[in-house]
Symmetry: C2
Subunit: 575 residues, 2 copies
């Protein structure tokens, strides 16, 4: 494609704009009119009534209009499309296109994604992969660039991203800024390598999202003064208000792994809601299929007593303004024709979803859309991220005393359970290992795990935060080796192994994180694998894979396991 000149670009946009004005002024027919709409006006916090006219994918006016296509929405309520302000798409374990197909029936028309997981595997190529995998999807996917790859220097990830590595992405029209700055100790401690990422994002006039649970006082001042504009880690209202009062925008998170909405309901009030938006952070297949997406957050907020119109503003308009996505999040002339049609606020059944004026969900099914074309090099690279030698039981056989990581049901924090030098399923002492898989370093960190409950066999997964090496837990070293080998053979995913036989598995061949299949296929394999894990004794109080995947994240207390061994996170040293 020849590069377009500036004049050419202006002329092209002018053509479209002239038509918009003609339709808005009533001189030409609209492409689509939602007749007799009752719609939420996020500017006046009222329900307004009018026809809504659409042309060229944009809302052009509210009044009396006629259109080529007319849809009578009498008796229903029309809302702007919903935004998720912060999500790691990889958690859904499917392609972004498949994610879009899953969330459209839930009214989501824009998400702001942090490709942190794939970037830990593939570096800048991972970011590029996600940009290409989301081009022209009917859910607009915007990106924040991963700020902490690897999560800590103790981690051994597939890539190290400094500010220069990600810098060119700021020119991409769908990149909004720098994603959650998890390394808040680095910010507060004025680590130049951390701060320069913020400085570079600001130099591009971009947003910087935060991640700073329980940060207070002057440390919080330092973190915000450095240039971090939001937080999605608030788990109580006092923490959230302290951040909001200092100028941060608060993302009220309600996802699969963390659920903060109930605790943050005091923010869903006129005093604070203007600075709040919704996010999910992580959404796992089962949760997406059963509960939905931002619509679930809306329903919950209303059920917990929030004003419905205020809730809609939080779900649409505030995230759009925060991210300077100023053409969405409202029903007004010039805004994207992204609509959610519901029956009423109490039942909140979504009956239709429009993206840029096209009905993408009719109450029954999602309209087909083309899969984005991804550069063949990137496709091959994404499917070839496992670089490790074939393992045997010998690789896990050592008998030196190692720390025991204690799992806590329903939490991702762990406890320090002392030491062990052998597996003892009777006492629920299992061997756990993290196998480096990016660069064939043959690093294998070994420790012990209590609280998982496995009685025989092994469970392995390449979804292991944040560096996504292969984490494996077993009642025997043979099955541990077999499980890891099977994960590698599948080019990623989850394997439940017993006696050398696969009991359940989910192949995630895209960077070891995502499937090439449908959400339903992944969910069904995942649920079957969970059942297999439970059958081998895994405690039913624990999500066998999700909880396991956090055992390697060396930023959450108390003990964690990396490719180099068991770490005391509080002391930041190996035990």
């Amino acid at each position: 494609m020849a590069k377009e000149s500036y004049t050419g670009r202006i002329n092209r946009k002018l053509m479209k704009k002239l038509r918009i004005v003609e339709v808005a002024a009533g001189r030409e027919k609209a492409d689509l009119v939602l007749k007799n709409a009752a719609y939420v006006n996020v500017f006046s916090s009222q329900i307004c009534r009018a026809d809504i006219a659409v042309a060229e994918g944009l809302i052009v006016g509210m009044g009396t209009y006629s259109g080529v296509q007319e849809v009578d929405v009498s008796g229903k309520i029309v809302l702007p499309g919903f935004l998720d302000a912060h999500i790691h798409l990889e958690s859904a374990m499917v392609s972004p296109g498949e994610f879009a197909r899953a969330v459209l029936p839930h009214g989501t028309t824009t998400v702001v994604a942090d490709p942190h997981e794939i970037a830990n595997v593939m570096g800048a190529d991972g970011i590029e992969y996600m940009l290409q995998a989301t081009e022209d999807l009917p859910v607009d996917v915007r990106f924040m660039l991963p700020s902490c790859v690897p999560a800590t220097p103790m981690d051994e990830s597939g890539a190290v991203l400094d500010y220069r590595t990600i810098d060119s992405f700021y020119d991409h029209p769908r990149v909004q800024g720098l994603a959650e700055m998890m390394n808040y100790p680095g910010v507060i401690g004025a680590d130049p390598q951390v701060i320069e990422k913020i400085v570079a994002a600001q130099a591009h006039h971009k947003k910087i999202d935060g991640h700073a649970p329980d940060l207070l006082g002057n440390d919080l001042n330092a973190y915000i003064a450095a240039g971090v504009y939001s937080d999605h880690e608030c788990h109580d209202a006092a923490d959230a208000v302290a951040k909001l009062e200092r100028g941060q925008f608060i993302m009220i998170r309600e996802g699969t792994a963390a659920r903060n909405l109930a605790a943050l309901m005091p923010l869903m009030t006129p005093q604070y809601a203007e600075r709040c938006m919704f996010c999910c952070d992580d959404k796992h297949p089962n949760d997406l299929l059963e509960k939905g997406h931002i619509d679930y957050n809306i329903r919950e907020a209303i059920r917990l007593g929030a004003d419905p119109i205020l809730t809609i503003r939080v779900a649409c308009h505030h995230a759009a303004r925060y991210y300077l996505l100023n053409n969405r999040g409202a029903i007004a002339p010039g805004y994207l024709a992204d609509f959610v049609v519901i029956d009423n606020f109490q039942d909140f059944n979504i009956q239709q979803v429009f993206k840029k004026g096209v009905e993408m969900y009719d109450g029954t099914s999602v309209r087909d859309f083309p899969a984005p074309v991804i550069d063949p090099y990137l496709v091959r690279r994404a499917h070839d991220t496992f670089h490790l030698a074939h393992l045997t039981a010998e690789d896990f056989a050592e008998r030196r005393p190692r720390g025991i990581i204690g799992m806590v049901p329903g939490e991702i924090v762990t406890t320090d359970q002392g030491y062990s030098d052998h597996i003892d399923p009777e006492w629920d002492i299992l061997k756990i290992a993290v196998v480096e898989r990016h660069k064939n370093t043959r690093h294998i960190g070994i420790g012990y795990l209590q609280g998982y409950g496995l009685k025989r066999g092994a469970v392995a997964t390449s979804v292991s935060h944040d560096s996504h090496n292969i984490i494996v837990v077993g009642a025997g070293e043979e099955d541990m080796a077999a499980a890891v080998n099977r994960v590698a053979e599948n080019r990623g995913g989850i394997v439940v192994m017993e006696g050398g036989r696969v009991q359940g598995e989910v192949a995630l061949p895209v960077a070891g994180l995502m499937s090439d299949g449908t959400l339903e296929e992944v969910n069904s394999a995942l649920e079957a694998a969970k059942d297999a894990a439970f059958a081998l004794g895994v405690s039913r109080e624990i999500d066998p894979f999700m909880t396991l995947s956090f055992m390697s994240l060396p930023v959450i207390p108390t003990l964690r396991l990396t490719t180099r061994g068991v770490i005391d996170v509080d002391k930041q040293q190996y035990v």
Copy 2:
């Protein structure tokens, strides 16, 4: 100066940011601490209490801090610096530096200027002149690029600005967008030359301000859908709410020529205020000196019953967010240390004003600051904008019947008073002329004026909206010629002439619009000239120069005069 590399730029900003973090975290002393501050928190709409620490010109934290300089503000209230969302600086008739000196004691720390007047005289060079004349002033002057030069094709101005002429200015860091799109009939009528200006501003991701009094219904939809994001012409609340509901931001205007605050008080409520900000549009010397600036709007709003904290949000935060000036308009870490210290909300006496952490006003006087350096070519060009031949009485002597423009006391609309073919001061029929002065075309439009009251002599001014030719009104042609010649000799300004002798005058040699002197000097000359005009019989119900200056603006009903003759604005034809 060598061009800075990107790495060099990041390193430079990094140094500053590291220091900010050190101070915020409490490891280094602040440059300035406002001790024991009670400050307005625009995020939580509360008064908060803490020390406010400043480093590198930015607020770094609120808490307990010590600083190299400490100022105890116990018992006072600290506010963010005020913003004027839309002003034509030229109306103050002084240089931008002198304007800054005048408004600092009133708490203004940022203004968004539309250099529409000087652009009508000097075109793109006028915009550049204002950019240079405002560089590094202690009031941050941001610009919107004039959208309608000339105001209409019937006008004969010094320049014609199409989208290409102004396009390169969008790269300037202090240009925020496209200024008031006065040609709303052109927008609604889908005139490509008008719409392409909007399209180009959007292509640069810039704001587009509006100007559309009383626009309603689908025409209003068309205007907004075209991409016009604000309006400052609302003179009743219903009009304002109609625009706000469709997504426009409302600038509540209270200036010299137009005063809408009282009528728009229904917007100063939680339901609407989030989308509102203050502006003055025009501020004349006397008004600036006697009433103040945005502080006057705040006092008036509070006096009329608005909540003080909500009023402060309107005066600071909302304009900053609208214009994406996201580092100001609030007291929070990372924001500019722009403070206004007042005694209390009722008396609202401004006791100190800080700009970027420097006390610029101490309650008595304004701290000196260097005048911006302006390119010598531009200085010469700005002082050489009168290109017309010496005139004699003969040039005004013609006796053909011409339309009589009727002045209305206290208004800028006019009435159609029929025709005359001679001056008759007994019946208050004066001759009025507009003399083209940009390009020596020798065009002189002649008509008659009723309601001005002049009994003898002549009054001439080069401040004549919007094209700023010389407008002259007289009881005799000799004095008319002498007054115009004197204006040209002064390279612009206002002259009151009788019997060939100057009775009063204000020299405005910068583009014929601004003085090189102080505001006090200009005001004193202006008041003396007004007295001289009154002494010659001008009606005391009329501002002798301001009202006259609107007689040439061919967009306001009913009759106007251009260099080509009397126009019926409603019919858009010569009479």
